[in-house]
C-alpha cells in the first residue's frame, strides 16, 4: 500500500438486517483512497449509504469484511477501545445535524472534541472558536446560537483534536444557501490551515460544484440498486 495515502479502503462490505428479516448490503466498496491534504467530495442520493460509509471509516461501525487503513493503522486489527482512540486522535467529524451537546457551552463542546484524544487545551479551543468567528460566544449554549453559528461550533469541534482526516456528512444540509456557502468555505479553509484531509459527502450540487475532485458514491459503491442491495 502507498505510504503517502492517508486513507486506504479495500473490499469493504457492510450489510444490515431489515425489520422484515431480509439482509441488505449497504456498502460494497472495492477500492477507495485519500491522500494527505486531499479534499474530496462524494456525491450520493439520500439513502445511498453515505453515512454508513463515513461511520465505517470513523470506526463507529465495524465492517463485515474488507480493510480500512487510516494513517498507517488497519482498523479491523484494532480492538474497540483502540478504534475509539484512533478516532479521538485522528478523525474529526462534522454531522448534518451538528450533534452539539446542548447542555454544554460552545467552549466545552469544542473541548470535548479534544478531551478523549490529545487532551483538553482551553487556549486552542478558544482560538478555534475565534477562528470560526465565535470568539465572543465561548460561554453561550448551542440553543443561544443561530443555525449557522451552531455549524461553525461543530466545525471547530471537528478540528479540535488536530485531526488528519475530517469527515463531513451533509454538513450544509440544514443551512440556508448563504450559510451553506460560508460554512463550506470555512470547513475547507480550516482543514487546509490545520493540515487535515477532507472527505465530504453531499447530494447538493452547489456544494459539489465547489470541489475540484468529486466522486460519485455510485461509482465506488457496487451495492446501489434495491435488487443489488438485497442478498
Amino acid at each position: 500500500m502507498d505510504p503517502e495515502l492517508l486513507l486506504q479502503i479495500k473490499d469493504l462490505q457492510k450489510t444490515f438486517v431489515a425489520p422484515d428479516g431480509t439482509r441488505h448490503r449497504i456498502v460494497d466498496v472495492s477500492e477507495f483512497s485519500l491522500k494527505n491534504d486531499d479534499q474530496l467530495a462524494l456525491a450520493g442520493e439520500s439513502g445511498s449509504g453515505k453515512t454508513t460509509f463515513l461511520n465505517l471509516i470513523a470506526g463507529i461501525l465495524k465492517p463485515d469484511s474488507g480493510t480500512i487503513k487510516i494513517a498507517g493503522r488497519e482498523m479491523s486489527a484494532l480492538s474497540e477501545p483502540q478504534r475509539d482512540r484512533l478516532r479521538a486522535t485522528t478523525i474529526g467529524y462534522v454531522f448534518q445535524t451538528f450533534n452539539l451537546l446542548q447542555g454544554y457551552t460552545c467552549l466545552e463542546n469544542v473541548l470535548l472534541g479534544m478531551s478523549f484524544g490529545p487532551g483538553a487545551d482551553r487556549a486552542f479551543a478558544a482560538a478555534l472558536l475565534a477562528r470560526v468567528g465565535l470568539g465572543h460566544r465561548l460561554k453561550h449554549y448551542p440553543r443561544q446560537l443561530s443555525t449557522g453559528q451552531q455549524q461553525r461550533v461543530a466545525v471547530a469541534r471537528a478540528l479540535a483534536n488536530r485531526p488528519k482526516l475530517v469527515l463531513a456528512d451533509e454538513p450544509t444540509g440544514n443551512l440556508d444557501h448563504k450559510n451553506a456557502g460560508e460554512s463550506l468555505a470555512l470547513i475547507r479553509t480550516a482543514c487546509r490551515e490545520n493540515g487535515a484531509a477532507l472527505l465530504l459527502v453531499s447530494h447538493d450540487r452547489d456544494v459539489l460544484a465547489q470541489f475540484e475532485t468529486v466522486q460519485s458514491l455510485e461509482q465506488i459503491n457496487r451495492a446501489m440498486t434495491p435488487e443489488e442491495k438485497r442478498i
Partner: protein, 402 residues
C-alpha cells in the same frame, strides 16, 4: 476532568430529578444516622446516669420502677420505705451514704422531691461534680418552706430566688389540687444535664408533712439512694439480704444494669426503627436507579455523540456510575442537615421528658459508615443504567443518516 464535566453537566441537565432523588437519599441518610445515634447515645447516657449512687432501696416491687422513680424522676413510686428501714440502711457499716427522698407533689407537672441537704453537699452526681447553686442563691434550710429549683424547671417556669409558689398534690398537675403551703425559691441549680434539672427540691419534711398527706406515713420516705463502701461483693450481699432473704423491700443494684435491662426490653423498638431506616435507604437507592434509567432514552443521543468524539465505553459507564454516586453524595450532605434537624428535635423532647441531654454533634461511627454505605449503594444503583449506556448503538443514535 472531562469525566467530571460530563457528570456535572448531566446532573445539571436533570436538575429536578437529581434534587428529588438526592432529597430522598438525604431523608434516608438523616433518618438512619438519627435512629442510630439516639439509640446509642440514649443507652450510653441513661445507663451512665446513676446520680452518684450505687443502689436504690424502695418498697417491694419492680427494680426498674424504683430506679426510674428515684433516679430519673419518672414513673410513680412503688410504695414507701419506713423511717426504721431508712435508719437501718443508713447505719449499715457497708453504706457510705444514704439519702432519703420523698415524692408525691408537683408544680405545674414538675416534681417536688423532698430530700436532705447532704444530697447537695456530699453527692457527686458525676466524678468530681457536685450540685451547685447559681450565684445569688443558696440551698434550702431544712426547717423552712424553701425550695431549690432545677435549671430546666427554672428556665421553663421562670422561677428565680425570691419567687414563691404553691405545690400541687400528686405527680400529675391538676389545678384543683393546690396545697395551701407557700414555698420560697432560695436557689436555682446550675445545669447538671441530669434528671435533677427537672426537679424542684424541697426539704424532706416538706413532703412528709404537707397538708393533705396521710399523717400515718409522715415519717416514711419514697426511697433511699445508697452509696456503698465496698465493691461488688458488698452490693451482692445486700442484694441477697433485701431481695432474696427479705420480702418487704427492693434493693435495686447496680443501677446501670437495671436501666440496661430496660433497653434490652425495648430493643425490638430500635430494631423496628432501624429496619424502617434500611427500607427508606433501599427505596431511595431504587429511586436513583429509576431516575437515571428513565432518562436513558434522552441520554442515548448524547452518549452516541460522546462516543463519536472518541469517548470509550468505559468512560460512559464511569460517568453513569459517578453520577449515581454523586446524587448519593449530594443527598448525604443534605442528610447531615436532616440528621441535625431530627436530633435537635429528639434531644429537646428527651431533655424535656427526662432531663438527659443528647449531643447531636458528638461523633458516632454511623456518621462514617451510613454515608459510605449510601454512596456505595447509589453507585450500585447506577449499574443497570450504566449497562444500558454501555450497549448504546452509536450509529443509530447519530441520526439522521444520508
Amino acid at each position: 476532568m472531562t469525566l467530571w464535566l460530563v457528570v456535572f453537566r448531566s446532573l445539571r441537565q436533570h436538575a429536578l430529578s437529581t434534587l428529588i432523588t438526592a432529597f430522598s437519599i438525604s431523608l434516608a441518610c438523616g433518618l438512619l444516622m438519627s435512629v442510630w445515634v439516639v439509640k446509642e447515645q440514649s443507652r450510653a447516657t441513661f445507663t451512665g446516669v446513676n446520680g452518684g449512687f450505687d443502689a436504690v432501696l424502695g418498697a417491694r416491687g419492680s427494680k426498674l420502677q424504683l430506679v426510674l422513680n428515684s433516679i430519673f424522676h419518672l414513673e410513680a413510686s412503688p410504695g414507701n420505705v419506713s423511717a426504721t428501714d431508712y435508719l437501718d440502711i443508713k447505719n449499715n457499716p457497708n453504706v457510705a451514704l444514704a439519702i432519703p427522698i420523698a415524692a408525691g407533689d408537683n408544680y405545674h407537672g414538675y416534681r417536688l422531691v423532698g430530700t436532705i441537704p447532704e444530697f447537695f453537699e456530699k453527692v457527686e452526681f458525676a466524678p468530681g461534680k457536685h450540685y451547685e447553686v447559681e450565684p445569688g442563691g443558696n440551698l434550702f434550710d431544712p426547717t423552712r418552706r424553701e425550695a431549690v429549683v432545677g435549671s430546666f424547671v427554672a428556665q421553663k417556669m421562670g422561677l428565680k430566688p425570691g419567687d414563691t409558689f404553691h405545690p400541687y398534690h400528686g405527680l400529675i398537675f391538676n389545678e384543683q389540687d393546690q396545697h395551701a403551703e407557700t414555698y420560697v425559691v432560695v436557689g436555682v441549680l446550675k445545669p447538671s444535664n441530669t434528671p435533677s434539672d427537672r426537679v424542684i427540691w424541697i426539704p424532706l419534711e416538706g413532703i412528709q408533712k404537707m397538708k393533705g398527706h396521710d399523717p400515718k406515713t409522715a415519717t416514711d420516705v419514697s426511697a433511699v439512694l445508697v452509696k456503698l463502701k465496698g465493691g461488688g461483693a458488698v452490693g451482692f450481699r445486700m442484694d441477697m439480704m433485701y431481695n432474696k432473704q427479705g420480702n418487704r423491700l427492693t434493693f435495686a443494684w447496680p443501677i446501670a444494669m437495671t436501666i440496661a435491662e430496660l433497653f434490652d426490653k425495648i430493643g425490638w423498638f430500635d430494631k423496628v426503627l432501624a429496619l424502617v431506616s434500611y427500607l427508606v435507604a433501599l427505596v431511595a437507592t431504587a429511586s436513583i436507579l429509576a431516575s437515571i434509567y428513565n432518562s436513558m432514552n434522552e441520554r442515548r443521543r448524547e452518549i452516541a455523540i460522546l462516543r463519536a468524539l472518541g469517548a470509550r465505553r468505559r468512560i460512559i459507564v464511569s460517568a453513569i456510575l459517578l453520577e449515581a454516586a454523586a446524587i448519593s453524595a449530594l443527598g448525604m450532605v443534605v442528610g447531615f442537615l436532616v440528621y441535625l434537624g431530627i436530633m435537635t428535635g429528639a434531644a429537646k423532647v428527651i431533655r424535656a421528658q427526662t432531663g438527659i441531654v443528647l449531643d447531636p454533634y458528638q461523633f458516632n461511627a454511623v456518621m462514617l459508615w451510613a454515608p459510605a454505605a449510601l454512596i456505595s449503594l447509589g453507585a450500585l444503583a447506577g449499574i443497570v443504567p450504566a449497562i444500558k449506556a454501555y450497549q448504546t448503538d452509536v450509529a443509530s443514535y447519530l441520526a439522521p443518516t444520508s
